[in-house]
Symmetry: C3
Subunit: 344 residues, 3 copies
């Protein structure tokens, strides 16, 4: 149950209204007038909570839940306790997410206002209804839209442009970038610094001026301590709706299509392009100048050294079609069972 | 030898007292009244220093050391120079650590006081003897115990609770969390931001409100630029005495038992649980919703896709019992020696 | 073409002068008096731009470029459009880099001056011509050379020493370190915090005082959110001219020789040493107490558990000579094609 220290529900809402607003179907016999105060996980919910079931690993939690109501697939109805009101959805987690957003709307600003302990250059422009926290620095010529939150000790560099309804995390650093609307940058994100560009040839490594930008399109979310270098000349582009997790590295000139999902600690080398809705699982590494097709999926820890076709699922080091990789690992396992060890 | 610019020893101490306080035994003939000014590594020590020997890679350094005294296993006595006074311990590095802490006690606060250049909300509470550095931001309703250090440009979010004797690094960001006593957060640590929670189903990815907290128990240390997301509803929990290295990613709802050791650049996916004293070597990645047993050990770079039993040592991608993995690699090496290359 | 919002060219320059200053040869018929306003990538260049060709992946871009002039290898001359003036160089990217630096000199300071919103301890010393941005904190006894830029919300710890012409990124944190001349630290870099040092033996893990420093020599560049722990007694040393990318972890007592190239998300464990000009590709992990020889190259994602000889190229997990690793992978692939899968 959400700690009231940190969260306050907009509820209660009636079950029937809620079902309608999230596109779920009330099970026969469920009381449409039942008041629900908040959402909660199966293990933590009480009679005043709405919960959800979407992963068979948590079947035992479903069977034992004390939740007043549960969103689930109709096929799972027999597993829920008789006391719980049921809401059927073909996409239970998505329906639950809609409900959770009704109880806890996602807004960047909690109290509009500019902290006197923030540092705004007189030439910076802010839209209406922004909240700028103590220690935030907004440099000369920066332009920030309406209803943005600039959190403590964030640093917005010269002439950076930020759209409306953005949430810029504590200690984040932005330079040489244009940020769209409804973008969320978590704490410690670094955007727009020089890429890793140098030329070998004389003595030592000669730093090459990096003359591009980072373009972050609408509805992007970027996780804590991730870094996105600016382009070397062309821009680095993060397409609309991309979800990027923590500690991700995106090098200069990389282009992500729309809706890509980049899990934690992935690294994407310079000038590589991802098609729309590509999915990179945790700790994947991709070499430079490659093309990863639309809706391609790369398994966790893959090391990618060649293009990946649209729609394909690849895995392994070096990455190849995942079935092929699994057969390789299986063959290796059979050999290992027969053979002797290396050094015992 | 410690640079006096940065470190000041509390010594000198007499060898006999020191031996007693660290649980070591003075070798026959060692002068209990010998004064030692400080600790130092074998290669850098002089006659006024205590050093230690605990890794056979440094045997040559032991043989050549000019240290006044050395802590080592009694079995290594024959390798030390005749001029060095010897202290015997079954755990030489542990004994040395105790000595080093006598010369250089670990305390968070160097000079208590609140910098006038820090930003404390009037509703924040601080215990006695804290030191708050310039640029630190402590938001409304935050509560900080006694003898804490909040370093430059750290950002403590609303209603965050921190216990006694904590050391919060420069530029660290905390929100939605409860921190125990004697916790050390290194610079750039991000704790409590939204987890990577979104539902697929409609158009784009729907962000799901994250309504849990991060609980960091007593005596935890977290390395530079590591990130720990708050729970989605349940909490993310870091058990007492855990040691977490730099650039580690811990996702929402993860639970670490007591005393886990998490080496740099490890990533732990959502809802995975680690038993007490589990050890994860560098760059390990663990998928979500798994159980890693008590005292399990995962070799560096392992990719873990299934539960790991208590006490087991696993390695490889996908991870399996380490002997099995080693046999697989050995079999593969034999094959490689016989076969032709792929693409030459 | 560089966005004038963020970049201003020092051009125009005449082609002939430019060719001379970058050590390139004007192709027969090229107009030495042609004025060039700036540099740009092949795809984005117009008649007023100088571009370059150095990677056959971009041959199509060369053929279609509208660039006024292109630096390339003489052997590629037949591929360039007839309208482009050609400059021949045996190292086209290096020559282009020199030209780019003529149009866009790399200097840390844009307008010298100390922001009244920065926090300088009265005992800190700054050389001439520095620029200190809002929110930067410079602690007691710190010493900073001439023409340095200390960006917003950077935290320079007590008694830290920084040389001349350094650029310290937003939100960076420095302690217990000595920094040379012309060093560039990108945003979020953490240098000098405690290493991951603790002794096992009693109950829990006993933190060991870390009494060394970080020495960063001249002309080093360190990427965003990278972390370098200080030595435990010996120092951690980054040799002159090293190029370190984003999100890299360097543990206590590591020593890098001159000119090493460390790509993003590499992790180097404690006390390991790299020879001059060693190259570590992305996401490499190296165990502790190893020696990586001069000019050794480690392929992306390698896991290194033993010493690597000078000049060798290693790859794989565990890393071995790259040809051997490739043969192993090829053999495994052949087996996989013949065999059945593990679990389908």
């Amino acid at each position: 149950m959400a700690d009231p220290r940190f969260y306050r529900s907009r509820g209660p809402f009636a079950l029937g209204e809620l079902a309608q607003s999230i596109g779920a179907t009330l099970a026969p016999g469920a009381d449409a007038d039942l008041k629900l105060a908040d959402v909660a996980a199966l293990d933590e919910a009480g009679p005043e909570h709405l919960s959800f079931f979407d992963n068979r690993k948590y079947l035992q939690s479903l069977r034992q839940t004390r939740a007043g109501a549960v969103v689930l697939a109709e096929s799972a109805r027999g597993q829920a306790p008789s006391g719980a009101a049921l809401l059927f959805s073909a996409q239970p987690y998505y329906a639950f997410a809609l409900a959770a957003r009704a109880f806890h709307p996602i807004v960047a600003v909690s109290r509009a206002g500019i902290s006197p302990a923030s540092h705004l250059d007189p030439s910076a422009r802010l839209g209406e209804g922004c909240q700028v926290d103590a220690g935030a620095v907004i440099a000369a010529g920066a332009s920030i839209g309406s209803r943005c939150r600039i959190r403590a000790n964030a640093a917005i560099g010269e002439k950076v442009v930020i759209g409306d309804d953005c949430d810029i995390g504590a200690g984040a650093s932005l330079s040489h970038c244009l940020i769209g609307d409804r973008v969320i940058l978590h704490p410690g994100v670094c955007i727009g610094q020089d890429g890793f560009g140098f030329a070998r040839g004389g003595e030592g490594h000669l730093k090459v001026p990096q003359l591009g930008r980072v373009i972050v399109e609408n509805d992007v979310e970027i996780g804590a301590n991730s870094s996105i270098d600016r382009g070397s000349g062309p821009d680095t582009i993060i397409g609309p709706g991309c979800k990027i997790d923590n500690l991700v590295q995106i090098a200069h000139n990389v282009r992500l299509g729309a809706g890509c999902v980049i899990v934690a600690q992935v690294g994407i080398s310079g000038s590589t392009q991802l098609g729309d809705y590509a999915v990179l699982a945790g700790q994947v590494g991709i070499a430079g100048h490659l093309k990863i097709g639309k809706e391609a999926v790369l398994a966790a820890k893959s090391g990618v050294h060649s293009d990946v076709p649209a729609g394909a699922t690849y895995g392994g080091i070096p990455a190849r079609p995942i079935r092929q990789w699994r057969r390789m690992v299986a063959a290796m396992a059979r050999l290992g069972r027969n053979g002797r060890g290396e050094g015992g």
